[in-house]
């Protein structure tokens, strides 16, 4: 299996805006598949709605483009049906944390072996740039013309609190690190969450003096800080920073479909 076997090249060019971080993330995912040598026919790749949702069209695996916020619920059915296969979900910040927030915390609670990558571009891009649960405060969006007054979710803390057993954050400005952390999450047995910080200069940036991708990527780059560097800083120094790295890895907790198989054995054995 080679790198290009994971891409539906005949569906290109893609529908994303020039300079969007989503391409970097898609490449990191494909590289991780390739590095692990997973057969594409053993992978189910499931997405919701939004810019992130379109990725299932381009990834050459078993794929499903579902409804807004619910890819994890579909993926739960697929994984429980076929625990022997790899199930990967790509979701956006609006998809995973707003309309799909319930499925997110419950998939984490179950610790079902689904690999979730949240593309966090802090905005609803496809619908024209409305405020999302991760839009920075005071940012202007189509629906917060006077600035966003709502606080935002910390995806990492939310995932850990809900019970995810692998939780990491990376940025499109560090593609190699992103690829490595996605690869690591793919190897984890349990519910994994990788938050990929991305740029939407078109529908978020242009309303906030970050209107081209270079300016916006620089803005992201200035705010990120790797975990090992952050550890040496004072809380004051990292107050507004986005810390990157693997925050949580629990290899002890049992995975849901394994627990289910044990239940079946127990029930059938007791007949």
């Amino acid at each position: 299996m080679s790198y290009m076997d994971y891409v539906r090249t005949f569906k290109l060019p893609h529908s994303w805006c020039p300079g969007c971080g989503i391409g970097t993330i898609m490449q990191a995912i494909v590289r991780a598949f390739d590095a692990l040598g997973w057969r594409n026919e053993d992978i189910a790749f499931i997405t919701g709605i939004g810019c992130s949702g379109r990725m299932s069209t381009y990834i050459n695996t078993n794929s499903m483009h579902t409804t807004h916020g619910r890819p994890l619920a579909f993926a739960t059915g697929v994984k429980l049906a076929r625990p022997d296969k790899h199930v990967v979900v790509v979701s956006g910040d609006g998809d995973a944390l707003a309309i799909g927030g319930n499925h997110f915390i419950h998939a984490a609670r179950r610790n079902i072996d689904i690999k979730l990558i949240i593309i966090n571009n802090s905005v609803y891009g496809m619908t024209g740039g409305q405020v999302s649960p991760t839009t920075p405060q005071m940012f202007r969006t189509q629906t917060t013309p006077y600035g966003n007054i709502e606080p935002n979710f910390d995806v990492v803390k939310l995932a850990i609190a809900a019970g995810a057993t692998f939780v990491a954050r990376e940025s499109v400005t560090r593609p190699r690190n992103l690829e490595k952390v996605i690869e690591k999450s793919f190897l984890h047995k349990g519910f994994s969450v990788v938050e990929a910080i991305s740029n939407c200069h078109i529908n978020l940036g242009r309303r906030n003096k970050l209107k081209d991708q270079i300016t916006m990527l620089r803005w992201i780059n200035d705010r990120i800080i790797p975990m090992n560097v952050a550890k040496r800083k004072s809380p004051e120094e990292i107050k507004d920073k986005i810390i990157l790295g693997v925050f949580h890895e629990d290899k002890e907790r049992e995975e849901y479909t394994q627990l289910y198989e044990k239940l079946v054995e127990r029930v059938r054995g007791s007949k």
Partner: protein, 375 residues
């Protein structure tokens, strides 16, 4: 044959397992909860999968996910949950994924009357999800029929690659009755047709087919790397906005049910031949009607029953043929829903007996109505 006493909810669960259902995802809701409880008991014993999801929407999604992965899958709910599931019922129609949805009808709208029967969701079963879509809905009325129609629901879902809705109501779901369970070898099961291995994936125009046929889609992990798409899609399953392609796939989607209506339709007639008055009723209401017919006939009033078991697609032609020019009384546990289809089929006004207060229509109410207005 085995004779068992159980309530409708449990009958559906046992029939589903007999039909080959090995995946259930659900969410607790009165009056359907016992169905999930029974599935949670039965499925692990046969190596099947049961999961209680975080909400109604998720349970519909999980069932579809499992179906795509090759399982016969089911979910069950009642009114409010049926409302929540609608978006994903549409998705299953769009992607042409087999799945069975049981809706144990209770009083509505909103939270309504959770512990009381109704038939207020029959139009929602047809048009609940947005957009044009094909649907099959079955409404059994008797215990053994519930068993057999559950099996038929799975067979139709797999045969036509479409969601099939099984409509019960609180009375049928909760009343303990005698069910005649056939031996496994007496049950005819339909398995979905799958494409053979080894076809060139890129040349595989899966949604293209002879008009009237269901599509020949692969399951996940069958080696096709097939794409299931909720957007309007082309013959290969990829998103398109090309009006010709959108219309083409949409027409094929409708045609697979439309062209096989006769195979899907199922009606029951009772004392219809010499009847001067025809009652149109379905589900538990039809049982009251039968009792009323018996009593009225003992008084010399000739009444008969036309009872559709398949509600959707609606049996326009069979109804027209069976009824002719006779007087018709449509009775429903709602404020008038299927009556519109009946009038459309007969192209005339009919008499009506509607009730939506959480109590069943009694035989006496039928008799009073008929004696008071129809003769």
């Amino acid at each position: 044959m085995k004779r068992v006493v159980m309530p409708g909810n449990e009958t559906v669960a046992h029939a589903a397992v007999a039909a080959g259902c090995r995946f259930y995802a659900g969410y607790p809701i009165t009056p359907s909860s016992e169905l999930a409880a029974e599935m949670s008991k039965l499925l692990p014993k046969v190596g099947g999968k049961f999961i209680q999801m975080e909400d109604e929407i998720a349970s519909m999604a999980a069932a579809i996910g499992a179906s795509v992965a090759g399982y016969k899958a089911m979910t069950a709910t009642s009114g409010p949950g049926f409302s929540l599931k609608q978006e994903h019922i549409g998705l299953a129609c769009m992607m042409e994924v087999p799945v069975v949805i049981v809706n144990v009808m209770r009083g509505g709208p909103s939270t309504g009357l959770p512990t009381h029967p109704a038939q207020g969701d029959v139009m929602q079963a047809r048009w609940g999800t947005h957009g044009d879509h094909p649907i099959i809905a079955l409404a059994p009325a008797f215990p053994t029929e519930i068993y057999m129609e559950t099996i038929r629901a799975f067979n139709l879902a797999e045969r036509f690659r479409n969601p099939v809705i099984l409509l019960l109501d609180e009375i049928l779901a909760h009343t303990y009755e005698v069910v005649d369970i056939p031996e496994p070898e007496e049950i005819e099961l339909v398995e979905r047709k799958l494409p053979p291995s080894g076809l060139n994936r890129l040349d595989f125009y899966t949604y293209q087919r002879k008009e009237g046929d269901p599509p020949l889609l692969p399951n996940f992990f069958q080696g096709y790397n097939f794409h299931f798409e909720s957007l309007a899609h082309d013959e290969m399953g990829f998103p398109t906005t090309d009006p010709e392609k959108v219309a083409y796939i949409s027409r094929l989607r409708e045609a697979k049910i439309e062209k096989h209506r006769e195979e899907i339709w199922k009606n029951d007639e009772y004392m219809l031949e010499d009847a001067e008055i025809v009652i149109f009723a379905y589900g538990s209401v039809a049982r009251s009607a039968k009792e009323a017919i018996n009593r009225l006939r003992s008084e010399g009033i000739k009444v008969g029953l036309f009872r559709p078991i398949t509600l959707w697609p609606f049996p326009h032609q069979p109804l027209r043929k069976a009824v002719g020019e006779r007087k018709v009384l449509v009775a429903e546990m709602n404020l008038g829903q299927m009556v519109y289809e009946v009038e459309r089929a007969l192209r005339r006004d009919v008499f009506t007996l509607f009730k939506a207060d959480g109590t069943p229509i009694s035989p006496v109410e039928f008799m009073d109505k008929i004696k008071g207005e129809l003769i």
